[in-house]
Point group: C2
Chain length 236, copies 2
Amino acid sequence: MIKYQQIAIEIETYIEEHKLQQGEKLPVLETLMAQFKASKSTVTKALDLLEKKGVVFQVRGSGIFVRRHKRTGYIGLLSNQGFTSELEDFQLTSEVIELDVRKPTQEAALNLNIEENSDVYYVKRVRYINGQTLCLEESFYNKSIVTYLNNEIVSQSIFHYIKEGLGLKIGFSDLYLHVGKLNEEEATYLGLKEGDPKLFIETLFHLANGQPFDFSKVTYNYEQSQFFLQATSHVL
Amino acid sequence: MIKYQQIAIEIETYIEEHKLQQGEKLPVLETLMAQFKASKSTVTKALDLLEKKGVVFQVRGSGIFVRRHKRTGYIGLLSNQGFTSELEDFQLTSEVIELDVRKPTQEAALNLNIEENSDVYYVKRVRYINGQTLCLEESFYNKSIVTYLNNEIVSQSIFHYIKEGLGLKIGFSDLYLHVGKLNEEEATYLGLKEGDPKLFIETLFHLANGQPFDFSKVTYNYEQSQFFLQATSHVL
DNA sequence: CAGTATAATTGTATCGATACAATTTATCAA
DNA sequence: TTGATAAATTGTATCGATACAATTATACTG
């Protein structure tokens, strides 16, 4: 493990264990440098990482403080690692509706930046949280990257498999959110009524090298749709 | 202006002017160092900033590449600077419904971390985009921080005034998203029907020193609610 | 005691140097 | 031509040093 990541993890653990609340102060830089036997640059890098994650904020001349959002039961929108890792505290299960290799739709091909005659894994599943329907998901995986999927993998955590099983590094993703009304099919799968509200999110996931590998379209059950999100001003 | 921010701006401008597309390669670090007469650390810092903003991504051993999302007409969710700066390309106007100094609701007091008998500015307005209703907004500003507001400011950009007029530095914010159905009042203001879908976002804005100064509750017109969002994996 | 000037604290910006890891390109053998 | 191996390219991690800016604490003054 890289040093500054290790430091970040230890600081985060420290915050957890000491149950520090929003605004509480961490030891000053000098102390952290000594404690972790690292240079100022390295500790700063760890802190910048934690700041990006929304765990701390730094105030020049004052100190390093814990950043906490107050509410529980909200799903973080920015995890980018799939929901399974995000929702460890919840009971998350999946029912696989479809799983096959096929040709992509024009839309999927365009997003994945592949030819329409190349192969994709198509996955359709309903996901449940604490026994309630959470969402209906349709995903297209570029088969030349995600070379193999089966029912077992798909009914558990696809992203865990992609990272650990295939050894791929996930980079960034673009999310597009819409609000609308459920059509009949969606309503049926989610156990709601046609015309009920829906949150619809299309996501294009990329590897660390910039290749898009997964285009997914997810329709959320509005009753379970509580998301949170931490923003930071980038100045410019 | 600080050097690495200046470099970031210039790189971004370069990308704009040359209309670089997703995946196109920028000059290598060495070149940028020479071009901007800056050390490797400084250029790297500028690039990290742009990466955080979702403008580029870096691949070790390979290069620095432009990151672009494809779709237009979507509102960025993470700007954190208010919508006015975000939506420069659109015609954005506001109709002020209410503006006064009052005592906060229990909820607002809790979020702003103030006593219930202290003063807040209360602002209620409907915002229009290209002549259509975009959202209904209710905001509570901690009056001991945002010391003055008037109708003119509120009908334009409150955040611009806070930054430029009051000289305050905006730090981070927490967003909580819900999907639901419009009640009668909301429907009326937005020109929609009761029971129609809504996206409801509560945001708690903080200064750079961590003080919360604005708690706002916004109900979006689902017909205009197209948001996008760029995520990056923080590894840990 | 209030207000202000000064000093100490504490994070931020910048430089530059060294070593390293991932990727890409070049080389060469089969 | 293919495929492995070596070399070159290019970003990342880490150290450490200097100067600086914002905040907070202290001392001083009236």
